[in-house]
Symmetry: C3
């Protein structure tokens, strides 16, 4: 069994944002030399997500608005977590809705994806360096 | 290490629906000959889900109503994604709530499940052929 | 390839609660002797979750309140599942929001975590014994 590990780093200049990281994950898979196995991609920060969806700008805007409805940033006083001096409680909830991780099959040296599947990094408390783990096992 | 891959195809005649796919996944596991490992089951379409819950018809009806409350189909104009000519933005959100994938342990040649765990395909934009990937690795 | 399996049992005295199970999962990893691979941790009951977030008491209280807003316990008559004699339909929905499982990379014999990542068991229908599966594969 082979294994491969890499951290991807992001610094999103705004509080929230989405980045299509499929190219970076493909590069990792290529570097790994693994042909058959599983690829885990997970946010290492708890106010960020990794998820799989469509790379369509309207949809990403819909996600942004919808997350704000289900887990609003304000009033920040509504969250007990924000009593710690943070103002990012909503980011923990948004990340929960979008998910921490994606597990992707590796087949014949490629990410085994449907036509429209793309891997995204979802940032909900940006303006600082944060990281994503890519771990691939197989052979 | 062994690996196994199969696509399962579905054509749900309605916009939304749930299908218990546990029997098909068990058949895949049997075909694979794998006794110890991990089994990934994921939707290959981004408006569908794979999730694990109870096969109880009342609960599935509750899921349907609840998803419609949290991510309503209408008004379709509320979603920017629908400006592309699609009317399935809600399906992308519903799939996000229910999840893209399930990872199931394989132990002694069986899906290592609790008593009530069943794997479902969740369709949120049906009336066309869509597919699910089963990937099993182990030995 | 090595594989390891263990069930962790919980009996939460209240209907809902969160338990940081990171120490137990670390112990499993140590017992397994696996240095490189993947660790799956999943609820075996369908009214409970395994998820990764921050161990901060205010945040856990925020999760509790937020889940009650998005998937309220009452009125219990609002859920068809509760016609079966159960009153835990909300627990199935809450578990869906929080997730069934976490997949964690194993690197150099350790859970490959960011600084604040902690694994939680989320109970939404407690006052009875329930279990979590830890399955580790690798070498």
């Amino acid at each position: 069994m082979k294994s491969y590990r890499k951290e991807l780093w992001f610094h999103i200049p705004t509080r929230r944002g989405f980045v299509n990281i499929t190219p970076q994950v493909k590069e990792c898979l290529c570097e790994s030399g693994i042909r058959e196995g599983l690829c885990l991609v997970n946010a290492m920060n708890i106010t960020a997500s990794v998820f799989i969806n469509d790379d369509e700008s309207g949809l990403l805007a819909d996600f942004e608005r919808w997350l704000e409805e289900l887990a609003p940033f304000e009033p920040t006083s509504r969250y007990r977590h924000n009593n710690t001096g943070e103002n990012n409680a909503d980011a923990h909830l948004k990340r929960t809705l979008m998910g921490r991780e994606a597990v992707v099959a590796v087949t014949d040296g490629k990410l085994d994806f449907g036509t429209w599947e793309q891997i995204f990094y979802g940032e909900f408390d940006g303006r600082r360096r944060k990281h994503v783990l890519v771990k691939i096992i197989g052979e």
